[in-house]
Symmetry: C2
DNA sequence: CCCTATATTTAGGCG
DNA sequence: CGCCTAATTATAGGG
């Protein structure tokens, strides 16, 4: 398929041809249907979507995305792993004057069914392409952990990291360090805001470590970029510490490749 | 705009016209660009996306979605709330033989920049439409909570609900009930599987309630659809209970409206 | 606006 | 495959 054939606009005038063409492109190319529709999803939840103009994307792996005119999340969707996607055209009225394009699929793994009914079709297109998905991400929690191992001084002066991913009976603690006074410090690391769940978790770990270390003095610390007052005082009350690290300020930007002329924007 | 004008395919031959047309449709209609591109996102995280064929959707509210050929999640995206989206065309080579379409936007609230560079454009389309988004969902946790309030007998015979959303020093407990022996039961409700975090949370709450109720006997219970063995035994060890509710079986299906002919699929 | 909690979370990693 | 956890989580709801 050369470049001029990357995009195909399907004719919506002939019903039989349309259904057969859609089937041809399923699991090969992206099928896109723009029209007015209703939808229904049943499975993990039941949802019913009233009339509206939407864009349906059907990816080659079977992913279904039904997008409205706002927001990041689709109105309805289905993950890959469903059975074959079926199309059919049914009469909307007794006199066969108008038609409805229906799509249906069922995903046995999660017992989910998803169906859409278009009563107006504005456009049906097919997109052919290749994408190796070469996505590099820098700055996630694992990267932050790496950074602290090589830059322990941002935690405290004279700080040293002894180990990471320390196993406890309850799971793993991100980091074990030692402060300038040779006191062990167990650290739970969060990229963003500290949630009550994080606080509970650290408190649990503290209880477990207490039993392990017996009378040895030690510290437990949550590192994150922000915390609610309520959580902060709760932590303090339970002998846990909070250290704020605005990682967006300290974490290095990934080196820019000469990504075409993109960087000229900056 | 009548139906025949819902979809517009922009000509990609004239650079100046293209940029001006794109600007015209921004924040009015959905702009869709299908082409070969690279992308870069900086802000909460830094990401660099290598060459590939993708579909870019720009919604009227400023939402940006860059989709590849598989999966539910976009490869890159940006939430609404960014500044104006800018387009420009730059020369890819010294002899001006080929061009690159660049898109850039910055979201001050989260200090995020997002840029995309298309070196091949297969298709640029614009979609006009209206969507009131009439989405009804049944079966989420709030519905399950409502259901238990009116059907407490599914928890235990002779059970009664006394209160909901009980405040603690850190967070809320979903339900407070009383069993057939007049023992108070504090309940944490989950739609799906119980996670270790849920278990910690309930245990914490139990400790807090212990101090409040002093010598009064009480029960604490996690309700969910499944649990790992490890969590189950941990719960038991800490005098917390687990009650399994396969809500998908007990929760009523939402009544089907005559959604065109959709239901004929079932 | 901050804070909290849910989600058809999705997706990845490990045992 | 189940379990666990991070995520540019997104998003809604409450104070």
């Amino acid at each position: 398929m050369n470049d001029s054939q990357r995009v195909l606009s399907l004719s919506i005038s002939s019903n039989d041809v349309l259904i057969s063409e859609l089937s041809d492109h399923l699991n090969k190319n992206i099928i896109q249907i723009f029209g007015r529709c209703t939808a229904r999803f049943d499975g993990r939840i039941n949802s019913e979507l009233g009339d509206g103009d939407r864009i349906l994307l059907i990816k080659p792996d079977g992913t279904l995305l039904l997008h409205g005119f706002s927001g990041v999340k689709p109105l309805n969707w289905q993950k890959p792993g469903a059975g074959r996607i079926e199309f059919r055209i049914v009469s909307a009225t007794d006199d066969n004057a108008s038609w409805i394009l229906e799509m249906y699929t069922y995903r046995p793994k999660t017992k989910e069914s998803f169906s859409i009914a278009f009563d107006i079709l504005y456009n049906i297109s097919v997109f052919a392409g290749k994408d190796e998905v070469n996505l590099h991400i820098a700055g996630n929690e694992a990267d932050l952990q790496d950074y602290l191992v090589t830059h322990p001084e941002v935690i405290e002066e004279g700080f040293k990291i002894l180990d990471r991913e320390i196993e406890t009976p309850l799971g793993f603690i991100d980091l074990l360090g030692i402060d300038k006074d040779n006191i062990k410090v167990y650290i739970e690391l969060k990229k963003g805001s500290i949630t009550p769940a994080d606080v509970f978790q650290l408190q649990r770990y503290r209880n477990v470590i207490e039993k392990t270390l017996l009378n040895e003095h030690f510290r437990t610390m949550l590192i994150g970029s922000s915390i609610a007052d309520k959580s902060k005082s709760y932590l303090k009350k339970h002998h846990c510490e909070y250290k704020e690290l605005k990682w967006q300020e300290i974490f290095p930007t990934i080196p820019r490749t000469k990504a075409k002329s993109l960087n000229q924007f900056f």
